[in-house]
Symmetry: C2
Subunit: 254 residues, 2 copies
């Protein structure tokens, strides 16, 4: 059983305003909820239909069995799944010095939820733990983003911060900073360090000027086509895939 | 001016059935139409609002000026653009021997239109001219795919064919064939040839068993995470980006 007020409350979390107000996000689907149950993320409530059989792991959480019809009312998916969890949005204050020993990503106004989710999934694949986003980037805890991460949201830490401030501090701490530009050095022939911050820019405008001025290393993914009128750019998620791959390859399989 | 019948006709091309019946696809947006005008693709009709000013290039095509309201009625976008072109779907019969001298992609039931479009865009970036798709893959001339290619549909040749037949013939012609599997050899430490066919599989099930048996070289993109419960797979478009990048890098910037 679920009350009308609960339904309203859960649906309200589709909106960023209410997610921030209550510090909660919605995760839908058995695989995703299981990933979150196995992670450091905290869960506030679980709503599930009779078919969901993951009680043991969830025994410490307040869970509510609902009918399929009720699940349809709280779900944001066209085909409702058998379980929805309300998770606590982690409140994380970034200590830039923790970025010193590893490779991190920074997103400067990456606005498309699909791109954001895909980049979080890529970070997980490439063993990148920290992503620092500008406040103008998509909300990592929006339902569309969470679904696109395919569970990686449970394993990657997302920070929102003033990027110029973070890069300035990184420069003082001698953390190498990389960014992708149209006029940078060839990614494949550049020296890439095993640790550092890789900055990816907005879908249309790239990295903002203020941030560009602070970045140590400008990189470009060369276009291999000799056709005229070839594509002018790669989608930001594709570019992230290629860059992370090359950073990790150079260090691990030189 | 545009008649009600024309509007119906253009809207019908949103459906694969009618695209096949009439051999026409719909391309929407100034950049996309311009890319197609500069390509080998043939255009049957152009509908544009007064603001579109690309007449000179289009002078050989039957074009019709329409009001913004009429454009709204024929557009499939939430924000209609200033121009829509009806293009002829190229009828291409694949001669496998033409794949011998270059690097090609093969898609085994890649079903998501966004993935298909992104892969076509990647092919363009990496100078790959030919993509061979199973008939069970998404239609490359669906509006969503065409929009996602960002114009690359004008520069990459798409074939639909029986993939097992094509790979069998490739084997006879000694064209190297590569596929991505969970249990393949490390992409980064494998010998990769400058020419060959790279097979990418379905979003959920990967490459079909029949095709797997015919592929020479099995590759895997290693997971760099040492977290337990890490992502089990990469999205097929991401995997394509990483694989194409590594093939081109190894040959061009070894």
């Amino acid at each position: 059983m679920i009350t009308t007020n609960e339904i309203k409350f859960i649906k309200s979390l589709q909106q960023k305003k209410f997610r921030r107000q209550h510090g909660l996000f919605v995760a839908e689907g058995a695989k995703l909820v299981e990933d979150i149950l196995g992670s450091n993320l905290k869960i506030s409530a679980i709503y599930h239909t009779a078919s969901w059989n993951n009680y043991p792991k969830a025994k410490n959480f307040p869970f509510t069995q609902v009918s399929k019809k009720e699940m349809g009312r709280i779900s944001s998916l066209s085909t409702p799944s058998e379980v929805i969890a309300l998770g606590n949005i982690p409140i994380k204050k970034l200590d830039v010095s923790t970025l010193k020993g590893s490779l991190s990503l920074m997103l400067d106004t990456v606005q498309d939820p699909g791109n954001m989710g895909t980049i979080i999934r890529l970070a997980d694949w490439f063993g990148i733990t920290n992503i620092v986003c500008s406040p103008t980037s998509a909300d990592a805890f929006a339902p569309k983003v969470i679904q696109a991460t395919m569970g990686a949201i449970a394993r990657v830490s997302i920070y929102y911060a003033n990027l110029e401030g973070v890069i300035s501090e990184a420069n003082i701490l001698k953390i190498p900073t990389y960014g992708t530009f149209l006029n940078g050095n060839n990614l494949y022939t550049s020296n890439l360090t095993p640790t550092g911050i890789i900055v990816m820019g907005n879908e249309g405008y790239g990295i903002s000027q203020g941030l560009e001025n602070l970045i140590n290393h400008k990189l470009t993914i060369p276009n291999f086509s000799n056709r005229k009128n070839t594509s002018e750019s790669l989608n930001v998620a594709m570019a992230t895939a290629i860059i992370c791959s090359e950073f990790k390859r150079k260090v691990t399989f030189p």
